[in-house]
Symmetry: C2
Subunit: 464 residues, 2 copies
């Protein structure tokens, strides 16, 4: 019986081509994170279950991958002992794979609070694991790319995240729109209609207005226990028109009696002032239907969508006021943003946005005509590498056709050949694969010609 | 009760400073992998247990971290059902965390064999997990950095790996020595003394000669069932002197009757020929006591040690002839090498080898004197970032002392200030933190001055 290997459902292998594209995305994001002064950290894949449990709701707890206590997980349990299955998990597992980067980051801050200088700007690009039902575009292992500022209330941080979004997607060439909301405004609206406790159903209903229309929305709100009079009061909010500032102005008079509502409007106006000063390339807009992570965020809520691509949010974040409270460190406000690498990848594929040069492959292949010929090539191979060029010598003296096919498959642009004639005359035959051009070059000039060629197309490997 | 957060034993958090150093090591290794034509792949953290089990011996199986079947791991087990504990694992866990990068790579090759062009040169830099007892320098989660060539028998591959080692450690500035052996020579020696089945105890005993002396080694060999006459025959091998080629010459006459021994000597001679042609900087030597991964490697065995640091092997690898056989794909030979990032890190710390520039931090900090002043700074902040400089505006109008302390702690070299006076006169006060130098610079010249400064110390962020 032949064993047919496979990988767990919801997980993926990444081959060289896909890796190059993914790394391109990660590199752009990382470069911009650094440019904004975020510093890298990494946390372990495994966290104690006591760190993870209860942080993502009941549903989240179920989606944690739990790790069996290592090696001796049955220690203390007699081989013949009867175990009641539903108590098993607590006895045999104490660790889980991280579900996101936010909770481990909160844990990190609390654990290292005496070494950290606040405000602390950190970024983190690592995989997370969720035992979700796998489906198109949803994986059980996927990367998150997060940047957060901890320990500063300033709205400059909010503005800066929008600017960061502008730079990342500008560099990736993705046309995006940023939607901005503020949890405090939503609270103000709920207060204004007299149902501050119904914040979440109200927001969800508003969100559906475009899709299902006023009648259905009204029905839904009634179902949630909101009386018709209150829904009536909500209508000016639902059908508010104008640009972001105009909407804020109208809200300002509507929510005049709600102190939290006024605070939300004030914050949002200040954020908009900064954004105006920053002269961003992207379009941003107030969107009162934006309810992302509502039981989590306390101030600004930000969501990024690709224009002309039906894929939902590709990046989002917001302000949270008590991230570390659950670990015993109260009163530390923060704001963060998370880039969804998989969806960004999908957008770039759909719009054909990956630059040609993303795929880093060998630049020069020496063909192998045998041992003597290889020995002739070796010093040149070594010297090219010292010049930061990527080069290889085909390891076996296979048929030339097979070797050229190797170059072709690996998309190697230049092939260098040295047979008996070349050695005798101390030269190399150099072939440009795409054009088919072939030249004889004296061995003393080989390095210079190849170096010059790659310099001219600006493709010399980055100097360390 | 305050919950005191911690991480599982044997795992680590990496803060910004340590991350910078680790990334420096990974970047050097990755750059060299690419320069030699290795292509990146990544495989999932979780593999099916059927892929992992039985590949690392009984001991290895015990060291696998097993993952409880997700969410519904008790499905099919009645809540009150009695379970016999020692049969539990098979029923409730089907996945494990990868133990190394080699077995997942073999699985990858078999699964993707129709898309792969051979010889296939791949590199992979990812964490692995082992439920080992944690101790100094041994972790339960750690990175491996592997490069392998699959589908080529040529000894050029062996030579190339030694050259790669030379380049990596040359760039890292670590003084290393490469020890080379060949499994076939060891087999030849075992044949020569008439005990081909005792290959492993013989090699282990030879390995101990330096530490415990001939008498103890002899005793150990006798204990393993090797008679005195055979041990007598072994002595010329044990006390062989001379350089690598001389030793090979002596072995050649000793092992003349062993065809596998002759083959090993022939391979090693050819490898040495290539290494001579490559003019490496490092020293390499034949070391018959090198027994690394003996039940795994079939040809060359390579091990790298740092000179003057007592830390053991920091890199190693070898030739294996049937990596993918266990997954049903026979007869594919390969050779690989693995760099131990943690030990390399320790060596570099001990020898103080990390370059000053490893730590990437913010290059320019604008101090915050209030909202109006921030607004004055914002466009310049944005423009610096567009010039690939890393810059931030301190988000809160805190006391200047606190802001300067932030710059200090984050090791930010340049601080830019704009108070009322500066705004009035349209200039900035720029302070170089290390020297304490301070200059007033007209706002129209600020970008140029800062850009020029960072160009002059060659520290402009790499253009994407």
């Amino acid at each position: 019986m032949v064993f047919k290997p496979s990988i767990p459902k919801g997980t993926r292998d990444f081959g060289p081509m896909v890796m190059s594209r993914r790394n391109y995305i990660f590199d752009v994001i990382r470069t911009m994170f650094k440019r904004y002064g975020y510093m890298p950290i990494e946390t372990p894949a495994m966290e104690n279950l006591s760190t993870l449990l209860g942080k993502y709701g009941d549903e989240g707890d179920k989606l944690l991958f739990r790790i069996l206590n290592s090696g001796d997980f049955l220690k203390g349990i007699d081989p013949g002992e009867s175990l009641v299955a539903d108590k098993l998990s607590g006895r045999i597992s104490e660790k889980g794979l991280r579900y996101d980067l936010t909770v481990p980051f909160a844990r990190y801050i609390v654990q290292n609070r005496h070494e950290i200088t606040f405000p602390f700007k950190r970024y983190q690009i690592q995989p997370v694991w969720r035992a979700d039902r796998p489906q198109k575009g949803r994986y059980r292992e996927f990367y998150q790319c997060d940047a957060d500022v901890i320990g500063s209330d300033s709205l400059l941080n909010e503005a800066e995240l929008v600017s960061l979004v502008d730079d990342v997607f500008g560099e990736l060439n993705i046309n995006v729109e940023v939607k901005i909301n503020n949890r405090k405004i939503l609270s103000g609206i709920a207060e204004y209609i007299g149902h501050p406790d119904k914040l979440i159903p109200i927001t969800i209903a508003i969100d559906k207005l475009d899709k299902i229309g006023l009648e259905e929305v009204t029905k839904e709100l009634v179902d949630k226990g909101i009386p018709h009079a209150a829904i009536q009061k909500l209508q000016p909010v639902l059908f508010m028109e104008g640009n972001s500032r105009e909407k804020l102005g109208k809200l300002s008079s509507l929510l005049d009696d709600s102190s939290i509502g006024r605070k939300g409007i004030e914050e949002t106006n200040e954020l908009f002032d900064y954004l105006d000063q920053m002269k961003l390339n992207l379009n941003w807009d107030l969107d009162l239907t934006l309810a992302r992570g509502l039981n989590y965020y306390t101030g600004a809520i930000i969501e990024v969508e690709a224009v002309d691509v039906q894929i939902g949010s590709i990046c989002g974040g917001g302000r949270y006021d008590d991230l570390t409270g659950v670990f015993g460190l109260e009163g530390i406000s923060g704001i963060g943003i998370s880039f969804g690498a998989d969806r960004i990848y999908d957008v770039m594929m759909e719009k054909n946005l990956f630059p040609q040069k993303t795929y880093h492959t060998t630049q020069i292949l020496f063909l192998n005509f045998g041992k003597k010929e290889s020995a002739y090539c070796l010093p040149y191979l070594q010297e090219l590498r010292m010049k930061n060029l990527s080069a290889e010598l085909y390891p076996d003296a296979d048929k030339i056709r097979k070797q050229l096919k190797y170059a072709d498959n690996k998309q190697i642009p230049i092939v260098v050949m040295a047979g008996e004639k070349e050695i005798q005359q101390q030269l190399f035959s150099v072939k440009w694969m795409q054009s088919g051009d072939q030249k004889e070059i004296p061995s003393t000039g080989l390095i210079q010609v190849l170096e010059h060629y790659y310099q001219s197309i600006n493709d010399i490997d980055i100097k360390l």
